[in-house]
Symmetry: C2
Subunit: 241 residues, 2 copies
């Protein structure tokens, strides 16, 4: 009996170490994303450069988590909830790694547009979108730590808002490009930046699905309302002489 308890507690320790790594990785992903948006809005090449470097720590943590998870599966042969815990860590670390990459990409674009005049209106839209994505990321990581499927579902539903903001920003950027072709270079970078933030939202949604599955052992059954429709729309044509 003592032996059994000993094993259980070692397993719990391993699991808690795995979860701590996810929490650390999540904190770093939040940091990279937040800083990349600050760097883009503030035209701050130094901050952008630091942010690009910080992404490396996220990649290293993903490798660590994967290695630990696989070792745990092989040694413990976990089933049901125990297995779902480890699989959740694996999946979430993969989403966080991609969020880190997206942040790094935004930081690179910040470097590219450092010299450009940035229209305040557009930057506010982008910043607002970025803040919402960051908030979604924080909430879904809390939901994971608390094993709170309801909180995860809230994040899942709220992604529609990011998509709606992306649609509106997408149209605004196209309009701005059409009004003055000298804006095209800058706006193209901002378009890709906005798309990156929209994808961060998608990864937060993935994490929400993972948390839901972890808790309930079944997938979210409803179809997520999919709000990004920019890939199937074109702007209104204007007469441009």
């Amino acid at each position: 009996m003592e032996d059994h308890e000993h094993i259980v507690s070692a397993y719990e320790e391993e699991l808690s170490s795995l979860n701590n790594k996810i929490a650390r990785m999540g904190g770093l992903a939040e940091q990279v994303l937040g800083q990349s948006i600050d760097a883009l809005q503030g035209r701050d090449p130094e901050l952008a450069g630091n942010t690009i470097q910080q992404d490396e720590a996220i990649d290293a943590l993903e490798k660590e988590i994967e290695e630990q998870a696989i070792t745990m599966i092989a040694r413990r042969q976990p089933l049901a909830y125990d297995l779902r815990q480890i699989m959740a860590a694996l999946r979430i670390s993969s989403d966080l790694e991609r969020i880190g990459d997206l942040g790094k990409n935004i930081a690179k674009r910040a470097l590219a547009v450092v010299e450009e005049q940035q229209p305040k209106q557009l930057m506010l839209g982008l910043r607002h979108m970025g803040e919402l994505a960051l908030e979604q990321l924080k909430e879904v990581l809390d939901a994971f730590i608390e094993r709170d499927a309801d909180a995860a579902l809230k994040v899942w539903y709220k992604d529609e808002e990011i998509d709606a903001m992306y649609n509106s920003l997408f149209r605004e950027l196209l309009t701005y490009m059409m009004e003055d072709p000298r804006n095209i270079g800058l706006c193209t970078h901002l378009l890709f930046g906005a798309k990156n933030i929209e994808r961060v939202g998608d990864h937060a949604t993935n994490i929400a699905e993972t948390v839901y599955f972890l808790v309930h052992g079944k997938p979210v059954s409803e179809e997520r309302p999919k709000g990004d429709n920019t890939s199937t729309t074109l702007p209104l044509q204007r007469s441009t002489g």
Copy 2:
């Protein structure tokens, strides 16, 4: 002894079933990517619609592969080369799933631009890029099946070509937008389409790294030449009166 042989052979069978699923998934990913580019170039909404649907089979296969891989790790507790085989299947299926998504996204953009006049020159550039990405995907999947690290390395180096094509297409598209603002809507979709193809190339490169690691048990040591620099460049400003 007979028992041991029996176990080994059951393991081999499981592994071969796993590899068959990867091969099937790879075939489907090639199909989705190829068709999405055909649909974009041929302005074919029916083909685009079919392609979007076909991506579902890829997602389903990824889930199957993950489940089987995890079961194998838990039951067999494989080490060294055996473990690498299973991890390779897991990683490659994740890259293939993302390639399927990218193809689906290109098909959606094909739907969006179905009514647009498409400049031949630009479409040829996009098609050429798409064909190279498709070729890379085929070659790296063959390298996986043959466990041929040298062939994988060739794919790894060749990704630079896709990046170079993307850079040149990126500039061409911006120029085209600046010349006539009525092109902005179409060109934005083509920009995202080109970026999607460039990312397919990145996933083929990931698979190449996975194959190399599978065969040699150590990562590709050199730094990959990174050719996509569009996130840090701006087009030359033109006077647009």
